[in-house]
Symmetry: C2
Subunit: 335 residues, 2 copies
């Protein structure tokens, strides 16, 4: 089962309904790999759904709740019109408490770094994002709760343990924000005690950013409050080439996993068969792992990485001139 | 006139009074370059001064107020004892509203980046740092005011104009924090209108971090609220090799300039004649520019950069084996 949301980035109320080429690419690759799932497709609505107070339809949310798994194409919220952000609505309605982003150097795609192999795990529901309504923060208070901090810390340590990772670094600014970040650290420490086999450390966010650009190999699993996660996960994506290459998956209460491409919907090239489907494909792979379809996940991931490494077919953002379709076909050939 | 604070990083109340070798290095280089200033030296106290509620003495603060210029060695506040942070006290008492950090690749010292030439200008008094008392944030509210935002924006544009810079980027997260960061942007826009010759742009912080690690040459002058400045200035320092190599200067009301080395006091190597004085020396250079002693500033800066570029004398942190004294002597020879 799988779900796709698509929208364009149009800053008007008339959202065109179209199926971007990168979603099509995932469907083709899944078909070629004979992944045993059926797609259930949903689109962002053209009008605000009163039951969600956003352009997200109630049906689409129900679909994720029912299937417990989904894949979300790039979605952008029209700016400055007072609607609730689609991404934030999803996080809130589905209680997507952890955003997980594996970040690995791609063999064959050179950046300044060739030693990146880390995971950022972002608390996804509170902090500076608390109390958002219609994207306006009425009172800018940062809220950190024990419950949400324990939950994401638990997720991070469990992830580390089950994925053969050795270290969890909690990122914070508790020297300034003792009440909030201090509580976050306290929760991480509590959970750390239950995982003696995992090394635990605490790193101040400014220092963390400096160390990440100097030597990303110093890090393994990073766990942090919402805003730091927003910042650091994008920084890490930059190390390996950008958001077009990094998978993302949101974990919700009750075992929900909503994978997503976090890059923008690139309205300038959307619909022109030029976009790079890598981030959505790699996100789809994380979804397959969540479904414990690990053979299919490995197979597809290898095909993607090999296609990029080989370098014959690359989209424009990676310095090539292939169309989305050509690149997709090359991946299918590598399966 | 110049002022030095020195302390060690001892986490006890008994602060040893000693003069670290990097301060000595600045004094030697200034003497060799015949800089026409006299030093007025102050140390962090061994007891809390009731007039400052911190280990900073009232006399030392008065000295900066009187001289309007100062150089501060690395200072650390003992953690978790409920004293007010020395750095935060200084910012508050002297109203140091802008922290300015030029960040340039050092010729001859290779990092992954060779094209860094940017300045971060950080609002230094409010945001998440508002209402700090004894390093405990009683209520974690982010406060952004029109007055402080206009003041730092004005500083940034004026800096850009008088330093031949072409672009100012305001860094923000106004899509989430409309009330606070939105106000910050509004102020930047107002000031930007007075500087039509400077290009103005707004960049969301997460995206900014990604772009910085992908291509720092995209940026010129960056201006931002307190916490983002804390994060991004360290990230930028990482691009060129770390805090040991980056100058910093704090600008206060009434024309005060307090230059500083922002790296730690490195208690493991302090007093062993091993520390790299580059950050403090380059900070001292920014102080000279503030005093409009530009010839001396250029002369000293060239000597530092040439010594590093030549590579014969380098301290351990840069992969060499020179002592602080040898490195300093080499700089003096290059004058
Ligand atoms: C669009 C924005 C609200 C969002 C966030 O800040 O969380 C985005 O940056 C992200 O990381 O998904
Ligand atoms: C030590 C800490 C309070 C300080 C800050 O957060 O401002 C430091 O990181 C800095 O950048 O000067």
């Amino acid at each position: 089962f799988l779900l796709l949301y698509n929208s364009d980035n149009s800053h008007s109320l008339s959202w065109r309904r179209y199926r971007p080429e990168i979603a099509e690419s995932v469907k083709q690759v899944f078909k070629a790999a004979e992944v045993p799932i059926e797609w259930e497709e949903h689109y962002v609505g053209t009008e605000i759904d009163p039951r969600t107070q956003s352009f997200l339809t109630w049906e689409s949310l129900e679909s994720v709740r029912r299937n417990k798994v989904g894949l979300k194409g790039p979605m952008a919220t029209p700016i400055g019109k007072g609607h609730r952000s689609l991404n934030l609505t999803l996080r809130k309605e589905l209680n997507l408490y952890a955003n997980v982003r594996p970040c690995n150097s791609l063999p064959g795609y050179k950046t300044r770094y060739d030693d990146v192999n880390l995971i950022t795990i972002r608390e996804n529901t509170e902090g500076e994002y608390s109390g958002l309504e219609h994207q306006v923060l009425l009172k800018v208070s940062k809220i950190i709760t024990r419950q949400a901090s324990l939950r994401v810390a638990e997720y991070a340590f469990h992830y580390a343990k089950t994925h053969g990772r050795e270290r969890v670094s909690a990122i914070h600014k508790a020297n300034i924000m003792q009440k909030t970040d201090g509580l976050f650290l306290k929760c991480c420490r509590e959970v750390a005690e239950k995982y003696p086999e995992i090394t635990y450390e605490e790193v101040v966010i400014d220092n963390c950013c400096m160390m990440l650009v100097k030597n990303p190999a110093l890090f393994d699993v990073l766990v942090m409050p919402n805003l730091y996660g927003d910042i650091i996960s994008d920084l890490c994506a930059g190390l390996i080439g950008g958001l077009g290459l990094t998978p993302s998956c949101n974990i919700g209460e009750g075992g929900i996993a909503l994978a997503e491409a976090v890059h923008g919907s690139a309205p300038d090239i959307a619909g022109k068969n030029l976009a790079n489907p890598t981030a959505l494909l790699l996100s789809a792979v994380t979804m397959l792992r969540h479904l414990e379809l690990n053979d299919k996940a490995d197979m597809i991931q290898d095909a993607i990485l090999n296609t990029i490494a080989e370098g014959r077919y690359r989209t424009a953002d990676l310095g090539g001139s292939s169309s989305t379709t050509d690149f997709t076909r090359a991946i299918c050939d590598h399966l």
